[in-house]
């Protein structure tokens, strides 16, 4: 007996194959088969969080569209998640709904970004998430299905169907799933969520509207500065160059070399910011920054607009300074991002191999900022809510 009154229409299928075909015909999937969202299964997901079907989990600010627990649970079931993954899915969507993330733009733009998710804290082990070998690839249920659940929600609940609201020119493979756990034990510094101001025992998601990863292969160097310079040059690659934020996945091998050399994480970020640069003349020569690029930014009142978009005072001033430099036309070096804090560093991947990755931000400007949010759960050992 299902205890919930669902608002959704209930359909019936005679057999599992007919059901799959029906979902394909309705354009309700990402192109892969789904787990049938039966009322009983959806109810189990709501039970997991003590939610009612009509509870509003978050609202997409630009479109004023409310995401209900019922619809998010249906799509999370379809993705193949277990009920205990549901709080992670909900928290990711709530992080994306923070205005500074730019939910609507990031899921509909020609840029074709996907929410790149990093999970930190004890929940990584509780859900047996992968932070190691093949971390961006297939093979782990939680990584694969949590990311997939987000995609199905974006398509079916947020309306971002390819060709309808999702106008990605290319898209990328991360739009099927783009969810990893941080290898906290392999991180020579504090884990990402602690750096972002959370308790080490808290479980969190960090969400970043990311393009496809750029591989950074470096097997030969054993020197921290060489490795970091290599990474910075990849971050400065001109095709991906913007003033947006960056994510860098450090392979454990690279992280160990850098960490053992005595570099702090703040020093690493400062070095990357300093060297991830392009000259204005090259940006002009390649047509990456046109003469009109800075015009909107140097209009009166832009500082207030930036503040309202989630910029700190310092970042607003930095962006306006960049705009003035561009506007002056004099050659100068321009950095990727506005400061070292625009670089998100996460340690993940197999223990062997010099393969790190840079993930560029979506959009040609800096209009989506990464967000970190705590996953509401209760520690079963101590019964303390984090």
């Amino acid at each position: 007996m299902v205890p919930y009154q669902f608002a959704s229409d209930i359909g019936e299928a005679d057999d599992p194959i007919a059901l799959q075909e029906y979902f394909f015909e309705q354009d309700w999937t990402d192109g892969l088969p789904i787990v049938p969202p039966t009322p009983e299964r959806v109810g189990a997901f709501l039970d997991e969080m003590g939610l009612q079907p009509n509870d509003v989990l978050c609202v997409i600010p630009t479109r004023n569209r409310a995401l209900t627990a019922e619809k998010v649970a249906i799509n999370t079931v379809m993705a193949g998640c277990r009920p205990d993954y549901f709080p992670v899915v909900v928290t990711i969507l709530q992080a994306m709904a923070e205005p500074a993330y730019n939910f609507h733009g990031s899921i509909t733009s020609t840029g074709g970004a996907a929410p790149f998710v990093v999970v930190n804290g004890p929940i990584r082990d509780q859900l047996q998430m992968n932070s190691g070998v093949n971390v961006l690839g297939p093979g782990n249920r939680a990584n694969a299905t949590i990311g997939r659940a987000i995609r199905l929600v974006l398509m079916n609940v947020a309306g971002a169907r390819p060709g309808v609201l999702d106008k990605s020119t290319l898209g990328h493979a991360g739009k099927y799933s783009y969810c990893i756990a941080e290898a906290e034990a392999a991180n020579p510094w504090e884990p990402l969520h602690v750096e972002r101001g959370f308790n080490r025992m808290a479980s969190t998601v960090t969400v970043f509207a990311g393009e496809a990863p750029h591989g950074i292969q470096n097997h030969d160097s054993g020197e921290a500065e060489e490795l970091l310079y290599c990474m910075a040059r990849e971050m400065a690659s001109i095709g991906a160059f913007t003033f947006g934020q960056s994510a860098l996945i450090l392979a454990p091998e690279h992280a160990a070399i850098i960490g053992q050399s005595g570099w702090s994480k703040a020093e690493v970020k400062a070095f990357l910011f300093e060297h991830a640069t392009q000259s204005l003349s090259d940006l002009r020569r390649t047509g990456k920054i046109s003469e009109s690029f800075a015009e909107p930014l140097i209009k009166p009142g832009m500082r207030d607009t930036l503040r309202e978009a989630g910029y700190s005072d310092a970042d607003a001033d930095r962006y306006l300074a960049v705009a003035r430099n561009i506007s002056s036309g004099e050659d100068c070096l321009l950095h990727r991002g506005l400061s070292a804090d625009d670089i998100l560093i996460v340690v993940a991947g197999g223990a062997a191999g010099g393969h790190s990755a840079f993930i560029p931000s979506w959009s040609r400007a800096r209009i989506s900022l990464f967000q970190t949010k705590a996953i509401e759960q209760t520690c079963t050992l101590c019964e303390v809510a984090f």
């Binding site: 209930i10 249906i74 733009g105």
Partner: protein
């Protein structure tokens, strides 16, 4: 065996909006030009503003700009335009 399933799609909520009353004419009016932040929007709107003045007798234009095409226009900008303009033109100059 019959399998029962729930529809995963959340339909869009449709809210009826009232159109602003049409102006009797443009002569002597003040028109807001709101750039959506795209690369050439500011230039395109400036050209439109010039044309409005020379061809239609618009007395003044007020320019403003929002950060990006895909995010909400800050309330302060909207309130500022609402208080000072008879009409507002916004658009995409990508």
């Amino acid at each position: 065996m019959t399998i029962r399933f729930l529809n995963p799609v959340q339909p869009a909520e449709v809210v009826a909006a009232q159109m602003a009353p049409r102006l009797a004419g443009l002569s002597g009016t003040t028109v807001g030009l709101l750039s959506n932040g795209k690369a050439n929007a500011t230039r395109l709107l400036a050209m439109i503003g010039e044309e409005l003045g020379t061809t239609y007798g618009v007395e003044g234009v007020i320019e403003d700009v929002k950060l990006s095409a895909s995010s909400n226009c800050p309330a302060a900008i909207l309130d500022g335009l609402r208080g000072r303009c008879d009409a507002v033109i916004t658009g995409n100059g990508d």
